[in-house]
Structures are given as C-alpha cells and as structure tokens.
C-alpha cells in the first residue's frame, strides 16, 4: 500500500450540497475544506463531476462515503471499490472515509447504516474488509462511528474498544462524529466522555458535528436536519480538549438552511476549538 499514513489537517469545513453549489463555485466561501458524499460523484459524467472539479480547484476535498458496507459478512464489493478509487484518483482528496456499519448482504442493499454487533467475529470480518479496501484504494481509510438505535445481546466490547482495536489491527484512522456519540450514548445509556477517553487520540483525523431529533419513543435520531444542539457543542469542547490536529466539519443533509447559517455554526466550532488551543 503506497500510502500508510493520513496527514493531519487542521481546518473547518462544510459539506458540498446542491443548494450551495453556486456559492462554492464562486470560490470565496470561508471554509478550509469541503466534504463530498462520494457516491453522488461516482457517476459517468454530467454536471456533478463538472461541479466537483471546479470546487476541487478552489478547496481541499474530503471524500465521505455511505455505501462501502465495511461490515458486510460477505465482504466489500470490488466493483464499488474500483469506482471509488477512480474518483479518489480524480479528486486527490484529503482522505477517504466511510462508516463502521453494514448496508447490505448477499446482493441486498438497505441504503441505511446498519449497526454491527461488537464481537470478535465481527472484528475479524471488519478488519479483513478494511485491509482489502485499503489495498484497492492505496490509502488508509477513515471510519466513522455510527449513530445506533439498537445494540446486540452478544456484544463483547464497547464501541470505542471496537474502534481502538480495529485501528490497531488495520492502521485505519477515525472520523469521530460527536453528534453520533451523543445520540448513541443517549440511546444506549453509556457515558459519552468515557467514549472520548477510550478513543485512540493519534488515529482521529476528522470530527463531524450535526443535529438530531427525538422520535417520541425515547430514542434520539441522527437526522442532520437541525442545528448542532447545545449538549453536542459541550461534547465537542471535551473532544477538542482531547484531540488536536483534527479537522471539523458540520453535516447538514435535510432542511438545508442558507450557507450563511452553516458558516455561523462553523464559526462557533472555530471559536470553541481556538479556546481549547489557547488553554492548552
């Protein structure tokens, strides 16, 4: 594998979403990088790839996927990886990320980020899949902690212990979604600060911030349709105290507001991170 490390990038970014294309194409949006959903650009041609090329000329780009299905027991799909590699070759991204989850099995694809049991059996499969993906992509992956709404009776370790061991065995890195930690902590009753304390600091390259909603049945749902909540900002402060040299990005995928609203949220993230840097 030619690249075995992912360099740190300390910056603040937003997702490239269709309503904001024109402003990003103008090139004067005050972000340090943009994140794209990889699958939206794994297409043959047309406007999406043209927009991506123009944006890439102006900003560093992180590629974030939703369909690798790194936890599928029947393996990751080589045709998917080859298409992803072609996009990465074109974009030359900061990094390529996806989620610690599975999306499908044996030809079925749920298009949802489904939870894994945290067992040694799952660990062996996930790590084998990561190693294959990293070989094909010729770069280490970043894996994001998912938001989950159920856990398994057979779980043998915590999610953060699973992430740590996964990094150790494969050399992959982490995209830490602070909102997902908060959502899952609420849904499963664990301490989010214990989660942060259990994540290997040297493997974290990016953090996500997003909004969530309550479903009225006692669960929080990672909806990405609200501003970042106050408890998540608090947890982000704790994360900034622990992780340095990490990029931060705000995810908004539904009820997308004007870009200025998201930039204001990003300014808050900058201010909180800067406060911890000054204190350190």
């Amino acid at each position: 594998m030619p690249g075995t490390t992912v360099a740190s990038f300390t910056g603040f970014g937003l997702g490239l979403r269709t309503p904001h294309y024109q402003e990003f194409l103008g090139g004067d949006v005050s972000v340090d990088f943009v994140e794209v959903i990889s699958e939206n650009f794994m297409v043959q041609g047309g406007r999406p790839l043209n927009v991506l090329a123009a944006v890439r000329e102006r900003y560093p780009v992180a590629m974030h996927g939703v369909s690798m299905s790194i936890g599928s027991a029947d393996g990751v799909k080589l045709d998917y990886l080859i298409r992803l590699k072609a996009l990465a070759d074109r974009v030359q991204p900061l990094w390529v990320s996806d989620h610690l989850c599975w999306t499908g099995i044996e030809g079925f694809n749920s298009h949802d980020l489904l939870p894994l049991p945290y067992t040694e059996d799952a660990m062996r499969i996930v790590c084998a899949n990561i190693l294959l993906a990293q070989d094909v992509l010729e770069r280490p992956l970043l894996l994001e902690n998912p938001s989950t709404y159920m856990s398994f009776a057979d779980d043998e370790m915590s999610e953060w212990a699973f992430l740590s061991e996964m990094c150790r065995r494969t050399g992959c890195y982490l995209l830490l979604d602070v909102n997902n930690i908060y959502v899952s902590a609420s849904n499963h009753g664990f301490d989010p600060l214990a989660y942060l304390a259990g994540v290997p600091t040297e493997r974290v390259r990016q953090m996500h911030l997003a909004g969530h909603s309550a479903n009225g049945r006692g669960l929080l749902i990672d909806t990405h349709d609200h501003p970042v909540s106050d408890p998540v900002w608090s947890l982000y402060q704790a994360a900034c105290a622990r992780f340095t040299g990490v990029a931060t990005m705000i995810e908004r995928d539904d009820d997308i507001p004007p870009l200025s609203d998201l930039l204001a949220e990003l300014d808050l993230a900058r201010a909180l991170a800067a406060a911890w840097q000054r204190a350190a």
Partner: protein, 250 residues
Amino acid sequence: MKLLAVQRSMRDHLISGADEITAQIHGDASPRLAVYHHAYRAQLLDCLRDTFERVWAWLGDTGFEAAARSYIESHPPRSWTLGAYGDNFYRTLSGLYPDDREVAELAWLDWSLRCAFDGRDATPVAAGALSDIDWDHAILCLVPTLRMRSISTNCAAIWTALSEKSTPPAAARLRAPMALRVWRKGFAPHFRAVDSIEQHVLLMACDGASFAAICTAIAERTESARAPEVAGALLAGWLQDGLIIAVENR
C-alpha cells in the same frame, strides 16, 4: 450468533418484518427495530419521490405513495447506489395502471431524464465540421445518453405542463404512433416527441447503420420524392439537438 446470520436476520426483518432478529437485540427490541424498519422505507420513498417528480404530481400524494410502497415491497434495492433504485418503477406502474398508460410513460420519461443527467459525457460535432464527409459511407455516432421509447399517450404534453406548474391536459391516446427521445446536451437533459420514422432510423443509427441505409429506410417509409428532404431535415435536427458526436467513414 455469527455475523452472517445476524445480517441475514436483519435483512429479512427490513424486507418482510421477520422477527428472528428480535432475540439478538439488547433490551426492548420493538421500538429500536422500528427505527430501522421505518428508515429503510422512508428513504426509498423519498428516493422515488425525487426521481419521479412528475409521476408524483400526476398521481397525487395518495396514489403515488401507494404505488411507491407497492414497488418498495416487491423490489428490495440491490445496487450500491440509491440512484439506481427506481429502474423498474415504470413497469410496476404499468401493472398498477393498465388502462392509464400515460402513468408508466411519464415514469419512463422521469427515469430517462435522470439517467441522462449524469450519463457519460460526449461532445457533439458542429455542423461546419461535416463538409468533407462521404455520405455514402458515413456512419453517425450518437450521444451515449440517448434513449428512446414508443409512446401511445400525450405524456410529453402532460410532463411539460407539470414541470411548468400549469394545468396538465387530460390524458389522451395519440392518433399515430410516436416515440420519445431523451438525451443530454451540455449539462441539461432534454426530450422530444418524434414520429415513428425518426424513431426507426435513430435506432438504425444506434445499431451502426450507414447514413445511406438510413436514407433508404426513410425512402421506404415516405414518398420517395420527399426522402432527401426528410433525411436532410432529420440530420439538421439531430445536429441542432447535439445528438451526433462523430461521423465516421467506413
């Protein structure tokens, strides 16, 4: 339980509501599984609404959602890209609305325009670049986004009215057979209703027929004295629409 068995159980729950997975869930499984069961269907429904916007407008919320839910229950997604979901929706609609053919034809048009949107790039030839062509041996190469389908209704007029947010005409059968051709010019998908002669000869061109053979086919389907005029008009229209990306002499 091994991961493969867990994932098969979860897949079966999502598709059919099978409850074998329940025993694997920590705590009260019902509200937790419901989140995934709902999210799976909600995402696919949103995808179909987004792709088949004119069908949705034509059928209304209730009719569209019933058709979409029928499709979702019978067509679990198989592709890694959500963009591929809906490729058979027009067939489902054809079965659900056998006497309202415009519904399936609108769906085919919605789907084909979406496919053209991010289909393979190609640069059309300029009319001025065709001055030295040996037309007796010329073969037209067409844009890779070109798709065609026979239609039997005024679906094109309905689609246009819906896209302009104006009152669509009532569905009606066409008096003569027509076809829709869909393609992308620049970054914009287009469609045009064409007669059966144009449909036939464009299909010939797609299959690699020579322009001479196309002219012969036109002559067989129209008054022979008008054949050169018809062929010239078709060629001019294809150039104007950016359908031709190369003219090769073989």
